[in-house]
């Protein structure tokens, strides 16, 4: 399967099943478009008759180059993965990542929060040290031979229970050597309670920190007010800037959400970049159509234009020597994930579980609060294996909409929670999300082409 498109003056050709990416001239682009079931002679005749002013010799020469790609397994390759390498039913999985809901409480009242101000359709609660410790023991015991274990301190707002965060990090570290494990702790915070001590601690212990801010002040404050209705921007921005400065080369993201109200979200990325951040994620809100801020079907075209604008802006900044990394345009063309990973998806419900403050286990943070999806708890382990099996089978080949999608090896079938939210099934797809993901993959590959021009 081949996906070809034109973007920002580049003729892009993606050979989906090999992962090969080519930038081609107009003639080659036209040949690839028509050559799959045609002989060389037919291709030559078709293009000579097309009125595009290509010469016969040029067409023949270009055709041979296309054929060479095909012979090298870089064009028109078949999907050989489905039957040869993965038996999803028999796939043995281990748990390697936990999302610890360290606080089901929040000091902000963000309007789009899927956790409903931190409470996840339930009650306010903080995770006790004992529950957290048990969660880490559960992870160690269920992680088989995996060395790298990931633990995200999430909420609500995890800094509302920072003492437990600190103690759990200490406990995790104390078990690393004897268990031959390495904990990678991460923290997702709204910044309200950040101070220098916490920043110091996070810089010592957290492999990554995710700092929530939406971009421009008015955009942030509209959707991220505090509980008394005041905006949070003026409180968090100085703290995030300080944190960024203290963090040095360590991983971090400032992470925002865009909604129907800021379809010009490129401006928010620019605002964050101009505020001194170079690792930025700004993502579309996922919300039911009856929410006033939800992304609607009719917004998709406008958002795609905005992604184009953003891509050009990022290229411009890279050329000026002040590059910004935009999370959703990141594609590692040479060192990206293996095909096994790309086929098996995000790992929710199998490798990745969320833990509530009282120790219940769910397939991921977005399923927390949906009782039917509770798979067990950190004390007794995973009990409802039928739910885990359902998630195990959730992959690109199980999803009708993914089977022939060019982006399937990049999003790996998309988010199970989004699919469930819109179609009551984890093997469907959130359609707006798919359209945006496809556009992002196109932009990301074009940016690669532009940056590769730059390095020559």
């Amino acid at each position: 399967m081949v996906h070809q498109y034109k973007n920002n003056g580049y003729n892009m050709v993606l050979d989906v099943c090999s992962g090969s990416v080519h930038v081609v001239d107009d003639l080659v682009y036209d040949i690839i478009e028509i050559c799959e079931n045609r002989s060389k002679q037919e291709v030559v005749e078709t293009l000579l008759a097309s009125g595009k002013c290509y010469g016969k010799e040029d067409i023949e020469e270009a055709y041979d180059e296309v054929e060479a790609l095909r012979e090298n397994g870089q064009l028109f390759t078949e999907d050989v993965y489905q039957d040869t390498i993965v038996d999803f039913k028999k796939r043995k999985t281990v748990v390697k990542a936990l999302c610890l809901h360290i606080a089901h409480d929040c000091n902000l009242a963000c309007k789009y929060c899927f956790a409903e101000e931190g409470e996840y359709k339930g009650r306010r609660a903080l995770m006790s040290y004992e529950v957290g410790k048990q969660a880490l023991d559960f992870l160690i015991a269920n992680s088989g031979n995996r060395v790298n274990l990931e633990v995200d301190f999430f909420g609500g707002e995890p800094l509302m229970n920072f003492d437990v965060v600190k103690r759990l990090v200490e406990y995790g570290r104390s078990r690393e050597a004897e268990c031959n494990k390495k904990f990678r702790f991460t923290l997702t915070t709204n910044g309200i309670l950040l101070d220098e001590d916490i920043m110091d601690f996070a810089n010592r212990e957290m492999a990554n920190v995710v700092l929530s801010i939406d971009g421009r002040k008015e955009v942030n404050d509209r959707m991220r007010p505090s509980r008394n209705g005041k905006g949070s921007y003026d409180i968090i921005l100085p703290k995030f800037r300080k944190f960024r400065e203290m963090r040095g080369d360590k991983s971090y993201y400032v992470r925002g959400t865009f909604t129907h109200y800021n379809l010009d979200f490129c401006e928010d990325v620019i605002a964050l970049a101009d505020a001194g951040f170079d690792q930025i994620s700004v993502e579309p809100v996922v919300a039911q159509p009856d929410c006033d801020y939800a992304i609607r079907e009719e917004d998709v075209g406008r958002i795609c234009e905005e992604y184009d604008r953003l891509a050009k802006e990022l290229i411009r900044r890279a050329k000026e020597g002040r590059p910004v990394n935009f999370f959703h345009f990141m594609i590692d063309l040479t060192g990206g994930p293996c095909v096994y990973k790309r086929l098996s998806g995000c790992g929710s419900g199998t490798e990745y579980l969320a833990v509530t403050p009282w120790g219940d286990l769910y397939p991921c943070h977005q399923f927390v609060g949906m009782e039917d999806f509770k798979v067990g708890d950190v004390f007794c382990g995973v009990e409802k294996t039928e739910i885990v099996d359902e998630f195990k089978l959730c992959n690109v080949y199980a999803k009708e909409k993914c089977r022939n999608c060019f982006a399937r090896f990049y999003c790996s079938g998309g988010c199970a929670a989004n699919s469930y939210q819109f179609h009551n099934s984890i093997t469907d797809c959130y359609d707006i999300g798919c359209e945006l993901e496809k556009k992002r993959v196109e932009c990301a590959l074009m940016v690669k082409a532009a940056l590769s021009d730059m390095s020559e």
Binding site: V28, I331, G335, C338, N418
Partner: protein
Amino acid sequence: MERIKTLTSNTLKNTMEKGGCGECQTSCQSACKTSCTVGNQSCENK
């Protein structure tokens, strides 16, 4: 002008032999939490 510039070739198929160790990061632990972005993760077993 060259007609074809290949940015990357055959990366997926090449991972069939060595892949599957599972040591790489879970995508939702990086920055997203509301979308699936597996393609941007890095391999830890090069």
